[in-house]
């Protein structure tokens, strides 16, 4: 069994888990929620093993490195981080409905990794610029931040769906979702967590750049877009202290912020040129 095969299985796993969570949401059956959690947990364990296996496989080839160095590996890690983040949230907030809004992100990430055009699954040796311990620190902090922002975006969508419903009856689909205040609170806390890790990600990138090239900041499109993302979330965190900026506006900012994250992650590599364009391999 290769790591790629295992990760293919994980794609399917997260699809099934998403379906189970969404079923809980639509049909209000508690059991499908439990099924969702079990499938997610199992798939997560397989994914963890697969990541470790890929790490080992790279050493077998003679150019060992952590599996965090190209688009495929980053998508897998992104999905893994979303799931671990969501599982911890499920334990803390005891609400499986969040799964319907979070696990689909993990599935889409794995699906793009497994089937995306131009995403090579090959294990390649690292070019000199990537041979550094800062690689692990920088990629891990960034992606934990991205994962938190993905979940916050899901929460934002959940909020807007619930807030837009005019039907207040307890039978309605959206009535099973937590209270608006609770969703808003979770969105806020998730953004705080993501912001801390994104700050760490930008800083570790800057320290690495300085130790490799003597410049901690060069307004490279990737660096600039990560800063744009940081500005948007900094604004979001401050906006809560201004009257009239709670609830819906925060939900929208969580979604807009995540678009910035996606542009920082993919848009820069595929649409713009610069230092990080090798991430598209």
């Amino acid at each position: 069994m290769t790591s790629s095969q295992l990760l293919g299985i994980c794609t399917l796993g997260y699809l099934l888990a998403s379906a189970a969570y969404i079923a809980t949401f639509i049909f209000k059956t508690k059991k499908s929620g439990v099924v969702g959690t079990i499938i997610t947990l199992l798939t997560f364990v397989i994914q963890t093993v697969a990541i470790g296996l890929r790490w080992y496989e790279s050493y077998q080839r003679g150019y060992g490195h952590a599996p965090l160095t190209n688009m495929y590996e980053s998508l897998v890690f992104f999905s893994w981080a979303i799931v671990i983040f969501y599982l911890l949230m499920e334990i803390k907030f005891k609400n499986r409905l969040i799964g319907a809004f979070a696990i689909p992100f993990a599935f889409v990430s794995m699906a793009y990794a497994s089937f995306g055009k131009g995403i090579s699954q090959e294990i390649n040796p690292l070019i000199p610029a990537l041979q550094s311990n800062w690689l692990i620190a920088h990629v891990v902090t960034c992606f934990i931040g991205y994962a938190a922002f993905a979940v916050a975006c899901g929460m934002g969508i959940m909020y807007l769906m619930k807030a837009s419903s005019k039907n207040n009856s307890t039978d309605s689909l959206l009535a099973t979702l937590p209270d608006l205040k609770v969703i808003d609170d979770i969105t806020h806390k998730t953004i705080i967590f993501g912001f801390l890790w994104l700050s760490g990600g930008i800083i570790s990138g800057a320290v690495w750049a300085n130790s490799a090239w003597g410049t901690y900041w060069s307004w490279d499109p990737k660096e600039t877009w990560s800063l744009i993302t940081w500005f948007i979330y900094a604004a979001t965190l401050h906006a809560r202290f201004t009257r009239g900026w709670q609830g819906k506006r925060i939900a929208w900012l969580a979604i807009i912020g995540f678009f910035c994250v996606i542009f920082t992650y993919f848009g820069v590599n595929f649409l713009l040129s610069g230092l990080h364009s090798y991430g598209s391999s």
Binding site: I127, P128, S199, W219, W225, A234, A235
Partner: protein, 445 residues
């Protein structure tokens, strides 16, 4: 007049201004990622037409992030941070250093988290028991005697209220570091062919030559490849020469630079110069010479009695990617010429009658170094550490306070426990419950 001044300060301390500036910075930063930066003017005329290109020049779009308006936005953010901190810090400091034992008693009865207990013990006994119970849960209480009874107070994390200001200060520190770096520092490149030394770097952007005041000698450059042929490592053996004397020596690779006198030398690239470094040694006489040889050109050299001529006449691939074999035509003026093959980086023994020569050959490179001097970088690093610490404290540590009023009520001691936290109310409720349970248990014994 003072009302006007207040609204002026209030504006610069306001969150609204912060939101405005952050959004402006975000949106304008996008422009610089979509319109290529620092390109020659012709590029902009080509891509956007003459009129747009003119507009770009006026707005300084080609170097947007150093433009007057972008720097002004950054300056505005700084001003916002400074004024906000000066405005709000005194009140926050007051909260941190507040004498909580002077709190109005009537407020205690109104706090959301509160519990009341009764005890048969005396006032002072009850009070000391409560102090012990609180200390068991990590709350160190101070006490004060009032007319109403004994007031106890304990707190955790009062300094966490300063977290936000540490974050704000960190941003200012980073800006200061960046400005020091951009005014007192420089960045550029040096291309040093192997076995030669240079003392001048060329600044990025302007191309201005800057003299280091010392020389950098590249003794050797080695390029290693993976089996796939992709570059694995660029390595340079560097020597720093002051007045011709070696003062420092270091081998550098990408991600592992050399530091010397406030300058940092990074292995960044290389250039293949289509020449070869050849050494020829007469093993009998130990006489040796080093040559820089172009392929296909004849080299003439008199070594002892021999009139040596040689040249690189052919080459062939090997099964190692990027490594070639070179065919050498060699004559020492006596007898017939010899042909032999030598591998890049290899050494070959060339017997010529009584004399034995050793011939080594290596591809000749120039190492590409990036050189920077940045006296501000440590300020930036300190700012970054402060930011991470500040964010952690600001978001994850709260200021929690607990008061206990022990009074006499119908010959029994009455204990009123009240608490408050400025953040994370849920976590505090649990913490509060844990203390009150401890107090309850200890009093009922």
């Amino acid at each position: 007049m003072s009302k006007k001044k207040n609204s002026f300060i209030d504006f610069f301390a306001s969150v609204k201004l912060a939101l405005f500036v952050l959004f402006c910075l975000a949106v304008s930063s996008i422009i610089g990622t979509v319109i290529p930066q620092n390109k020659p003017p012709e590029i902009y005329i080509q891509q956007y037409g003459e009129n747009m290109a003119k507009l770009f020049q006026v707005l300084d779009i080609p170097d947007m992030y150093n433009s007057w308006w972008f720097v002004t936005l950054l300056g505005l953010l700084c001003l916002n941070l400074i004024v906000c901190t000066i405005e709000r810090l005194p009140n926050v400091w007051r909260m941190v250093t507040l004498d909580n034992l002077a709190t109005d008693i009537s407020r205690l009865a109104k706090m959301k988290d509160r519990k009341t207990f009764h005890s048969d013990r005396s006032l002072s006994e009850t009070a000391s028991q409560v102090i012990t119970s609180m200390s068991a849960k990590g709350w160190k209480a101070q006490e004060k005697k009032l007319d109403e009874g004994i007031l106890l107070f304990a707190q955790k994390g009062p300094w966490s209220r300063l977290g936000v200001y540490v974050v704000h200060t960190s941003i200012i520190v980073i800006f200061i570091g960046a400005m020091i770096g951009s005014y007192l520092g420089y960045k550029g490149s040096m291309m040093i062919p192997e076995t030669t030394s240079k003392d001048t770097l060329f600044q990025f952007g302007t191309g201005t030559p800057i003299n280091l005041g010392f020389k950098i000698l590249c003794e050797r450059f080695v390029l290693t490849r993976y089996d796939t042929g992709a570059p694995k490592e660029f390595l340079s053996d560097l020597v720093v020469l002051e007045d011709g004397k070696e003062v420092h020596r270091q081998s550098i690779v990408v991600n592992d630079p050399m530091h010397y006198k406030g300058h940092t030398f990074y292995q960044s690239s290389y250039q293949a110069l289509d020449k070869f470094l050849v050494t020829l040694t007469n093993n009998n006489t130990a006489q040796g010479e080093r040559f820089l040889v172009e392929p296909g050109k004849e080299v003439k050299w008199k070594m002892g009695q021999a009139d040596i001529t040689y040249g690189i006449i052919n080459r062939q691939g090997t099964n190692e990617p990027g490594i070639l074999n070179y065919k050498i035509w060699f004559h020492d003026g006596m007898g017939e010429p010899t042909n032999f093959w030598v591998k890049d980086g290899g050494s070959v023994s060339v017997p010529r009658g009584d004399t034995n020569y050793t011939f080594t050959l290596k591809e000749f490179f120039a190492t590409g170094l990036q050189v920077t001097k940045d006296p501000g970088v440590w300020y930036v690093y300190i700012g970054c550490i402060l930011m991470l610490l500040g964010l952690t404290v600001a978001f994850f540590v709260s200021h929690r306070r607990i008061w206990v009023l022990v009074s006499t009520e119908d010959e029994k001691s009455s204990v009123l426990v009240s608490g408050t936290s400025n953040k994370n109310r849920l976590a505090f409720e649990k913490s509060f419950e844990s203390v009150t349970n401890q107090i309850d248990n200890d009093l009922s014994v």
